[in-house]
Each structure stands twice: as C-alpha cells, then as structure tokens.
Symmetry: C2
Subunit: 430 residues, 2 copies
Amino acid sequence: MSEPIRVGLLGCGTVGSGVARILTQNQEAIAVRAGGPVVLARVAEVDPSKADAVDLPRSCVTTDSMAVATAEDIDIVVECIGGVGKARELVEAALAAGKSVVTPNKELIAKAGHGLLQLAAARGVDLQFEGSVGGGIPIIRPMKESLAGDDLLSIAGIVNGTTNYILTRMSEEGASFEDALAEAQKRGYAEQDPSADITGADAANKISILASIAFGNYVDVSEVDTEGIDKMHPRDLVAAAELGYIVKLLAIAKRLTDDKLEVRVHPTMIPKTHPLASVGGVSNAVFVRGRYVGDVMFYGPGAGSLPTGSAVVGDVVDAARNIRHGSSGRVPCVCAAKAELLPADQICSGYYLRMTVLDQPGVLGAICTVFGEYGVSIASVYQKRVEGRSADIVWITHKSRESSFRQALQRIDQLPVVERVSSTIRVEDV
Amino acid sequence: MSEPIRVGLLGCGTVGSGVARILTQNQEAIAVRAGGPVVLARVAEVDPSKADAVDLPRSCVTTDSMAVATAEDIDIVVECIGGVGKARELVEAALAAGKSVVTPNKELIAKAGHGLLQLAAARGVDLQFEGSVGGGIPIIRPMKESLAGDDLLSIAGIVNGTTNYILTRMSEEGASFEDALAEAQKRGYAEQDPSADITGADAANKISILASIAFGNYVDVSEVDTEGIDKMHPRDLVAAAELGYIVKLLAIAKRLTDDKLEVRVHPTMIPKTHPLASVGGVSNAVFVRGRYVGDVMFYGPGAGSLPTGSAVVGDVVDAARNIRHGSSGRVPCVCAAKAELLPADQICSGYYLRMTVLDQPGVLGAICTVFGEYGVSIASVYQKRVEGRSADIVWITHKSRESSFRQALQRIDQLPVVERVSSTIRVEDV
C-alpha cells in the first residue's frame, strides 16, 4: 500500500473533534476510497481538555498551530479554528508551504477566499471548503463539478439552521422571537451571542460563497443586502400562513441579464408549495436553477460536529486523491473579477406589508393613491382585525422596485389615517 | 490557451441532442471551467434527420459509431445510444482505445458496469455516469466524492419519473392506472412500450448503481427484488392518504449489520411528512442516510434532454480536467466483490393490506388468529365500507418478515369468510 497521506488538524472544537472522530473511526473505508491510508498525524489545540478527546499520542498534540500548519511531514491541513484573523494567517502559511488546505470556515472563505484561492492556485495545491455552506450537505462540489456544464441562473437557500429553527417555532407554535431564540440557545442551536445568525451575517457569508462559484465573479460580502429576523413578529407569520405562504430567511443570488448580480439575505415569504417551504427546524436546503438542468435542490443538516465533519473529511479524501495523482489544484477558482452587484434600492420584489389604520371610509383609497403615484401595483389587500377605532390591514404588492416601494411607504406612513406601518416582508416566487 | 479536448458523441436522440446543444451553446463557460476548450468534434448517428439538428459540418457526422468511438483524434467518448448490446461494444472499444467515456446509460452501467469500470481502471481512463441516475440531479459524484468520508447506511429514492407521474395523478385525481399511463404517454413522459418503467426494471437498474457506489460491493441487478406499479388501484391510494401516507415507487438499499445488503424496488407507503412525500410529478429525489452526515436529499428533474445533458456535460468537464492534469481514473470503482443480497423472503417491512370479507361477527378474530400464528403483529385495522354482505377491511402490520407475511396471507385467503385479498403494499418509515 502506498505511503500514508498525513493530516494536520488545527482546532479541536465542535467541528474539529468531529473530523478527528471520522478520520479515526472510518479510516479503513477512507483508505480504500482515497487509494491509500489517510492518517490524522497532528493536532493543534489551545485547550488541553479538548485535545484529550482525540485518540492520538500526547506527542502529536500541541498548542502551536503554526508549527502544525507548516510541518514538513503534513500533507493536508484542516483548519477548524473559525473566524478570520488567526485562521487566515495559518491557512496562508499552510498554502505557502505547499500544503493542501480544507476548511469549513465560511467567514474566512467569504471574506478572504479569493486571495487564498489565488495563493492555492499559484502553489498548485487545493483549498477546499465544502463544509462552509450547508454543513454536511454536498453543495459546493456539486456546483463546481457536477453542474460545471450548466449555466446557473439563480440560487435560493435556507443556509442558517439557527434562524430556520426560530422561524419554524414562531410559525408553528406562535412563539415570540425572544422565546424562540431562548429555546434555540437552550438546545444548543444558537450561540450565547447569536448576532451573526439573527442579523443574517452568517447567511450573507454563505450566499456570497455560493454566488461566487455559480456566477464566476467573486462577491464582496460587505455589499450583500442583508436583513435579519430580529424584527419578525408572530402575527406576520400567522398572516403569511393564512395567505398560503411561509416565511424563511432566504439567501438569494440571481444573475441578471446585464451580468450584474443580485445578492441578498432577508426574511422572505414563499408559497407553501415550494420545495423550500417544507424545510423545517435546523435543516438547510439550497435550491439551484440552471438554464439546462432546471431546478435542483440539496437538503440536509446544516451544521453539527459530525455532519460538517463528514463534509470536511470528504474534502480531505478529494485532496488526498489529488496528491496521489499529482493533480492538486485540478478544480481551481475561476472567478475572473469582482462581481458587480445591483444596488439594494434597485432590486425588485413583491412585498407583504402590515399596517394599522383608522377604521373609516376612504382609507384604502388614500393609500392606494400613494402606491399608484410610485408605480407600486397591489396584488391583494386584506383587513385583518378591528380594535376600537383602528384596523390592521395586510397588503401584498406585485414586483416593485425597492426604492419606489420605500418612497411610497414613507409617504403612506405620514398619512393622517395611518397609525403605523408595522412590518414589511419581501415576497418571492423563487 | 491549451489544446482543445475533443469529444465524440455516439447517438443524437433525446439526451445526445441535449449534450450537443449544451457543448455548443455553453462552450465559453465550459472552457473556463475545464481549463481549456472542449469541442464537440464528431457525431455518430444512424438517423440523418437527427444528425441535422447538430451544429457541425457534415464531414464530422457519420453513421459509423465504432469509427468515432475509437478515432485517434477523440479524447472523450459520450455514449447516448442506450441499451446494452451495441452500447457495450462501443464503450469497451473506446475504453480499450484509451478514451475516457461518459454515459447516462443506466441499463449498461447496471448490467455491465463492473466489468467496464475494471477495464477503465486498467487503462487509466475515466468512465463516468452521473446522468444514469436522477437525470440532471447531482447524485453519483456527491456520493463518490462529497460523501467519501462517510459511512453510508441506506438510500431511498424516487428514481423513475414516469411512475412518479402516474402515481401522482392516481393519488391527486383518483385516475385509474390505465388512464394515468395514457396521459403520461400523451405528454411524452412514458414510452410507447412503458414496461421498463412500470415494472420497476428501470428503477432496479438505478438502485443497483447507487447501492454499488454507497456500499462498496457491486450489486447484480437481476437479484434485486422488484415490483412495479401496474397493480396499483386508486382505492389504495385514497386509503393511504386517509391514514396519513402516500404511495411512491421507492428504490431502497440498506446495509445490514452483517454487511449483507437489502436492495428492492416496490410501491411503498411512506408518511406524508417525509421529505420524499412531497416529490410529485416527474421529479426525482434520492434520500441518503450516512452514519456521520445524517439524512441528506437530492431533488430535481429525473430525465429530459437538457437536464440529463447537463449531467453528461458535467462529467465531460470532469474527464477533461483529468486529461489536462494527467489524473484520469482518479476516482476509480472501488467495489471489491459482488454484494450478497438478503433473499427477498427474508426482508422485513410493514404491510398495508386490503381485503374483502363477509360482514359478519368473528371475521376479524379469525384473521387475527392466523396472523398471530405466523408472528405477524397488527398495528391497526379499519373497516372501509360495506357493500351488501361484504366489507372492505384495511390492515397495517408492524414490521414482519416477508415469508411469514406471505404464508399468513395464503392461509387467510383460504378462510371461508374472506372473499378476496385485493392488495398489499409495503410500509416504510425510511
């Protein structure tokens, strides 16, 4: 049998420990598939209690991550530290030292991926990151390889399990945002500081990775129009359900006819019959539309030690195959340039809109007039309930330009008959 | 730019014409992804009218498929003829001549794949067949590559669009099997001779391919326990819906604890809440369970000229990348031996059972006694309707061994109070 391929693991937290477990427990099958043994040779971890969980001689465990990233006897470096600062330094050093690198670190790839991929290409090594989007779900390799003959048009994904869990509880049980978040934290689905999830920042990282792969120009995540779920009210989820919709935090990317991209993350009302509508709890799913293939969807667990570990080890096997065949870097980054994104205020979508108005004649007419002035066309309107002198009204608009819709809204909010505009949610038929 | 990779296409029917169109129309993007141009250089087609649809000089089109399969100036042969006889000869000749081969031909791969893959490995070339299962849905590469670190436990798939369309119409509109089949033929979803679809033979080919990849031993498709949908009655679909189930033609493969496999195709009642339950019409979906990744699902169009063409061209890009990197054959077949399948009569599953009995006291007791003698345990029983002296009764059993269930059924069928046993359908919680 050929020489073992030696793996150095940086970080032994949630995903790192899963990677260590799979590499150890499943090593026989992995050796068959990789054309020879793949061994976990070194682990760098600052917390000795985490390192203890790995089945390795003490001498192979160190706190010096840079030593592992650049060690002469390491072929593949697996970065499971997270974040950008230190992880970026280590990945750069590993690539520069001619190691192939595997990482599930979405923030690193979203914010520094283009430069790192260029470095990998220059050194003729692999930089793989299947675990960075959708946890264990195969999505990045299918897009880069299986769909490499296609002409991809759009992507719509539920790529953050925490927010999907919160929205599922809010919509199925009428829970408030705060209670659903607390429940998610109790179950370990949300961090103590959940801001990266609930603000949509995590989903923005992921959609910028997917959009870069799909459309061949890299997306600057800081330009992605991003809105979180922290302002969602259970009353809107109920209204959505009554209208045949469900609200999901969608990450959306579309290629427009002029080759600009539209990339955005926001709570979105989609028809209940859409395949993404039935993706509940912490599950993730990515819906991809290709000119030739039509609509395909990839579904599964979006996070977790072993699911994400499975994706990372899949990448390790691929990198190992490339090392054995002398073909490292065979699927490089082909992003030519920075993608030009459509400015947020030019994006078109339908809108759901809930407002409280005075319950008196002429109110609907007054509001419709303002919409009409800004070219916003109404698909439907429902009076939801009356309380004292006030009534709740729900509107659904046809596709409108964001800027027109916002201007109309500002005017409507100033009408004397309008007490307050409570919420707006974009409506998509994806 | 590097030398073009030259593709020879055998057969220009439904899928072949899709392949030709994508290779031509999308050639710029394909060249970027493949690291250099990939050109459709020759086409072999016996029907000149089909060849006319391809945008190639007359001199590149021939009726001599063997000449294209072995031509010196061809790097990748795409076989879109179908069936085993001639296609097998051509693929063998192409592999022997050192060409990489791409084919969406499920029958060929299911029946002759193991030998062809060994030939490809011996010659150090690729034999790729993503389009053979699930049309355009990426499933084979994700299983061989993305999930290469995992330990796969089971697969359950809707892998035949024709039968899924028929069952969807029967269950949503109460259509008879014959009417739904006629409608499928009218819409071009079913062949004039639909037997390969409705008998389950097509699905058996596909699940034997997936099971071979998932479990590392090759499955002999002639040993797959296969039952079609031609005996399905709309009444059973209605009863299934009332009980919270839906009936799908599922292709199922499981690895058992003793490393034997269970591989089977049959109409199956699954809970309405299962992700496969919402896969309607001609769509396909494959649900894969891994020890580490958990449950993932791949969904999309299971057939068609362009969707399947997309999968084929994805394989062509992959084979082209390997040629450029000198890494052809980097993901070889790793099936060690022929898989041992559990004999059909030892398979365990739940059963749905509809029968007509005399409407008189003691009937249920008499039937229960027989079930009890054979160790078949009843989960629930419903009386469906009474007509004159007869009543329709529906049973659902707990998991039982096929042989015990069939023996019990034979005895029950002979009871004087039983007029007839109308249908049995297996029940799975997959």
